[in-house]
Amino acid sequence: MWQGLYEELQDRNFTVIAVAFDSRPGDPLPWIEAAKPTYPCLIDRDHLVADLYHMVNVPQAVWIDERGTIVRPAESAGAYEGFRKMNRVTREMPADAARVTAEAKATYVNAIRDWVRHGTASEHVYPAERARERTPVPTDDVARAHAAFRLGQHLIRYGQAGEGDRWLAEASRLHPDSWAMWRQRAGVTELGLASQSDFWERVDALGDRKYYAAVDMKGMPK
């Protein structure tokens, strides 16, 4: 997904680091082989980066400058809700939803280009105070959810799938906003991937709420 952008900008002191919220051995491999990324693709089976940066979904992104300073905290990486309008049998997307989704992605990628070229002068780089305001932070329940998730993952790895799954369920209960935790568990228990009915049921339960929170960026769909 990011390989083209990385190749375009890698000579400008820029890199992508992709972190996969995956746990089953081999899970992300076919995807990595298909994309042939040349930037680091890391496997984060315990969702540590989600814990550290309060990420709740994929794809989300954080912009970090040359000094290690966050200049845009965790946000949807140009992802848009368009998939919610897809035909769930044919998996086709209506033309208008497909267009808005593509525009959202292009707007986000252009903003990254602008940041890489202009650094702090880019309009997409938040001043410190704004970055702090926009920083999503965890609640006590979310912190506990990450501990429960880590315990569940450990138990599953060491053959205690039943109890492990119970801890993953507890993590999801404590942190209902995390699609990463919920979908990881769905994968672990073979409930199925994104096309399955449990997923759509949970998406539908959002009602007017977003699956991908709107990105605070000029030109982004609300």
Binding site: F14, T15, A148
Partner: protein, 135 residues
């Protein structure tokens, strides 16, 4: 034997003693597993020291109840049904303070070949940190 997980480390502790919701460790094991160590002024990690109230029994016969200490510090702690695996989490307030400092928290993770990478290896470059998944 107890396996103790923190967000950066997995330790197997032969001398640990579990008693219900208490997890008793030697000072040496505590420091090795968590970086926190008992000092006269309280519990310390690096330059940070947290005084422990003497009215409560955190220390007994040379061991420290890390579970009680963790709860006292407001950090999450969970354990498996049989008490053989414990996870010491980090508090939401500590995570929030770190994020609001805007200093990107470092991490070290393997790629598919098992090679370890740290965010800090890329200091001096702009980094787009992105999440993804196969699910």
């Amino acid at each position: 034997m107890v396996t103790l997980l923190t967000d950066t480390k997995e330790s197997v502790l032969a001398e640990a003693r579990v008693d219900g919701e208490c997890l008793w460790l030697s000072g040496t094991d505590l420091e090795a597993a968590t970086g926190w160590s008992p000092r006269p002024q309280g519990l310390c990690r690096g330059d940070v020291c947290v005084p422990l109230p003497t009215a409560r029994e955190f220390v007994r016969t040379g061991q420290i109840d890390v579970a009680a200490v963790w709860r006292f510090l407001g950090k999450p702690i969970v354990h498996s049904d049989d008490g053989s695996v414990w996870v010491l989490g980090e508090a939401a307030s500590d995570r929030a303070a770190t994020l609001r400092s805007l200093q990107a928290p470092d991490f070290t993770l393997p790629d598919v070949a098992g090679r370890m990478h740290s965010l800090s290896d890329h200091r001096g470059k702009k980094v787009l940190l992105v999440s993804w998944a196969s699910w």
